[in-house]
């Protein structure tokens, strides 16, 4: 049994609580080849270069199959098309533009900013419900329900159906974990999950078509823009993507954020006094404890020379965002949490054409949730440090984050 590579050690759930020393080790070889031919890229400049390199594809059909590997069987009915996150231009650009139309600029610029009062209201409600408690689970009580409520409302999905798609969303992100199978095996699983989510969303889509609302799903289905609209399958695929992504990422940003604040009580206190600190603080969190630790499943379309290595055409790539965001070549004192770090071009949302679609929403959600938590939790103490983590190495975050408090302050009390 060969010794586990650094990347394999990162994937090991035993190292989930603190993978950062392993990332530092990984950066000593900016572009590292794994035994299965996957290339792991861990330094800032190289990651940024590859995210802007048109020779890198997000479409895994461009994989050159390793000799001897068996193709995974195609099971079940043909599912939904891949969403734009797994497509290349021009399809990616067309779909992402169409998805953007009811969501943000240039067509609907004010939508997310206008949500702010309602976002505050929603968090306030979640925290009000905790009144009288002496122990709260930041994940279960705030960090999870908040983004789920938001994505449901935005998409036009009934919040009460959450139990129906919660497991599907979990199954969907499990396929981002490289330990759960080869790229093809994980794709097959993802396709099945997507098909099931698609079935659920299809019934919803019919209802929205009969009575369109101001939600994204209605917007996608009834769009009358100059460049046409998405096909029904594309709508379902896009909606499934946004539902899963809205579910499984911001929860970690808020939970990792609260954990970091509790480990830096001085910063927690500052945030309570200066809510505006939440703005740079969330950027620093995205650098320091990013919810998406790495981007798996990119593929090279040509031989790429980078950092003294040639990555052959057709190789799978893993871009280690969390390692790049702590690269000392780019960030001063990278292992220090500095809430007002200047010039913070972190990789928390990726870069290039696949830059996180929901980033503006995630930012506002995290800024508001963390500010409210800082203002309303009285004397919070971590019950366990480190807390238990979810096993997923890609979307990394605590399973629970138990905190003891002396009480919950009333809303609006500073």
């Amino acid at each position: 049994m060969a010794q586990a590579s650094i990347f394999e050690q990162i994937l090991d759930p035993a190292n989930r609580a603190n993978p950062y020393p392993l990332y530092a080790e990984l950066r000593k070889t900016p572009v590292a080849r794994e035994a299965d031919g996957t290339y792991i890229v861990s330094t800032y400049d190289e990651i940024v270069a590859l995210l802007h390199d048109p020779r890198v594809s997000s479409d895994i059909r461009n994989l050159v199959r390793q000799a001897g590997a068996t193709p995974s069987p195609q099971e079940g009915p043909p599912g939904l098309p891949e969403p734009f996150i797994r497509r290349d231009p021009p399809d990616h650009d067309r779909l992402r533009k169409l998805a953007m139309r009811p969501f943000g600029p240039p067509h609907t610029p004010g939508r997310i900013d206008a949500l702010r009062p309602w976002l505050v209201e929603t968090t306030t409600g979640l925290l009000d419900a905790l009144a009288g408690k002496n122990q709260v689970d930041i994940v279960g009580d705030v960090a999870y329900p908040f983004p789920v409520t938001v994505i449901c409302k935005l998409l036009g999905v009934p919040r009460e159906d959450e139990s129906r798609f919660h497991e599907l969303a979990d199954a969907g992100i499990e396929t981002l974990d490289p330990t759960t199978g080869t790229i093809e095996q994980r794709k097959a699983k993802r396709d099945r999950t997507k098909a099931e989510l698609g079935q659920y969303l299809a019934a919803l889509a019919d209802a929205h078509l009969r009575q369109p609302g101001g939600d994204l799903l209605s917007g996608f289905l009834t769009d009358n823009g100059p460049n046409g609209r998405m096909s029904r399958e594309e709508v379902l695929s896009t909606a499934a993507l946004l539902l899963v992504a809205g579910h499984e990422t911001t929860v970690n940003l808020i939970a990792n954020g609260m954990l970091t604040l509790l480990r830096h009580p001085g910063v927690f206190e500052r945030l309570r006094r200066e809510p505006e600190l939440s703005i740079p603080l969330v950027e620093e969190l995205l650098r320091y404890e990013p919810p998406v630790q790495f981007l798996p499943d990119r593929v090279t379309l040509a031989d790429i020379d980078i950092a003294g290595t040639t990555i052959p055409q057709g190789s799978p790539l893993v871009l280690m965002l969390a390692a790049g965001s702590r690269d000392p070549e780019r960030f001063d004192d990278p292992d220090r949490f500095m809430p007002d770090r200047p010039n913070n071009s972190h990789l928390g949302f990726g870069s290039g054409i696949h830059y996180c679609f929901g980033a503006p929403l995630a930012r506002l959600e995290a800024q508001i949730a963390l500010t409210e938590l800082a203002c309303r939790l009285e004397h919070p103490r971590l019950v366990a440090d480190p807390p238990p983590y979810r096993p997923n190495p890609t979307l990394r975050g605590p399973l629970h984050l138990l905190v003891e408090v002396d009480g919950i302050r009333a809303a609006g009390v500073r």
Partner: protein
Amino acid sequence: MRVVVDLTRCQGYAQCAFLAPSVFRMQSGDALLYDSNPDDALREQIKRAAAACPVQAIHIGGMGTLAAMRKEPAQRRKPRGPVRLTDAEAAFKRGGRIVIVGASLAGLTAALMLRTQGFAGSLTLIGDEAYDPYDRPPLSKQVLTGWVKADHTLLPYSDELDADWHLGVRAMGLDLAGRQVLLADGNRVQFDRLLIATGARARPWPNDAEASLEGVEVVRTRDDAAQLQRRLAARPGRVLVIGGGFTGSEVASACRELGLPVTVTERGATPLVGALGGVVGAVAAALQRDHGVDLRCGVTVTRLEGDANGRLRRAHFSDGSTLNVDVAVVALGAIRNVEWLRDSGLAVTRWGVACDAACHAFDINGLVTGNIFVAGDVARVPHPIYDYQFLSLEHWGNAVTQAKIAAHNMLSPEADRWPHLAIPTFWSTQFGVNIKSVGVPTFSDALVITQGSLAERRFVAVYGYKGRVTAAVAFDQPKWLEFYQGLIDAAAPFPPAFRTVHQPAEMRPVPPEFPKRAVSDQEATVMVTGREPYERRVRWVYRHL
């Protein structure tokens, strides 16, 4: 508040437009316009937008923000140990006198950088306009449409700059030996080191009488833009734009956005032909015509005709036709502001003041001066990537970068000087499209479309010269340009021969179709006197300055 966005860096992530939608607007998916001086009440939103910018291109006031540079970690610095200053150098940094002539983008950026780099001596800025430094790119875009007022374009800086300002005063001359700048008001300003950043001005309509007709405008200064905006807001019958370069095209775009009829005349085969060539220029032409511009290429204006009251009424064209117009915008390029240096003994031509890669001005004999520096539109600098040819650039990004380099070198010993080797980069926003360019497209003998297509008007065109990549131009594809800049840096082979996303089925290099450079009137500029090598010296003969 004052905000400036480095649109050279911007890749169109639109985070700002999400988070502060009344300040930052995306024209299309990739083209950003913004209000430079928004209401203070929007401060929190703007802070959100600035923090969220993935490329950190938004600067809000405050000392040195514009001069911010990506960190240079200790281990990345050359292993020479700490920079040692001689006593004289240290004394200069503590209490020397630096004068900057030109108080626009390059001048202000240099001033900020000098303070950021620890200059504690006296700092004087001299500008011929009576205004605080302001940003020009908005003047041909969001100012003309009336969204942003012309006087709401001020550049951010803080009082900590601690400078003496001489605004509204023109520099008239330079006494190199006496180390003095001569001002139009009769004052003389003493310096130890000088930065020349006097930029360029709009080339006026050559016929003075026609140029003074009411309705004949240029766009270069705040006042120009304010005046043209007023003219456009009065709903003129038809606007004529003379010249289809970037400024002219942007003005035409603003007119169409306002719903005004507009005619563009362009001497060359297409708009933008001088900067990008006819192949890409044809896309710009189609874009204009699609937006309802009456575009006339291969045509020049021979005469502007006014009525008895001195108001513009009609334009006469080289093809014999005429057109009734109420406004004519003269967009025929720029003239560098070098007249004040005519007798200074510096290497001055119509292309500006020549300097080396450290921004040291050359004197008339071609010797590098020790204490005179140049930056911005008025500088000419040799670029190794382009066969060490002197480049005269009129780019926002070059003004900023070169000003920072010049400022650093003004304070640094020889061993710690930085060479100005930035790849030229510029952008334009017109007809809802974001156009970005890296490298020098005119330095090419072929181009190939590597991503997208001319028909879609979303593409990357790569330019090559003698088998290497020298430039790339992107229409609505700002996120890929970084990669192509890397190809230029690496002198990568042309045409590129690898597979990419969004690759056209066929990649055939074609000539870029630049117009033949009109041979300028062969005017003498200098004569050389002296027989022996050691006694030969240059003397100016003025025919064109």
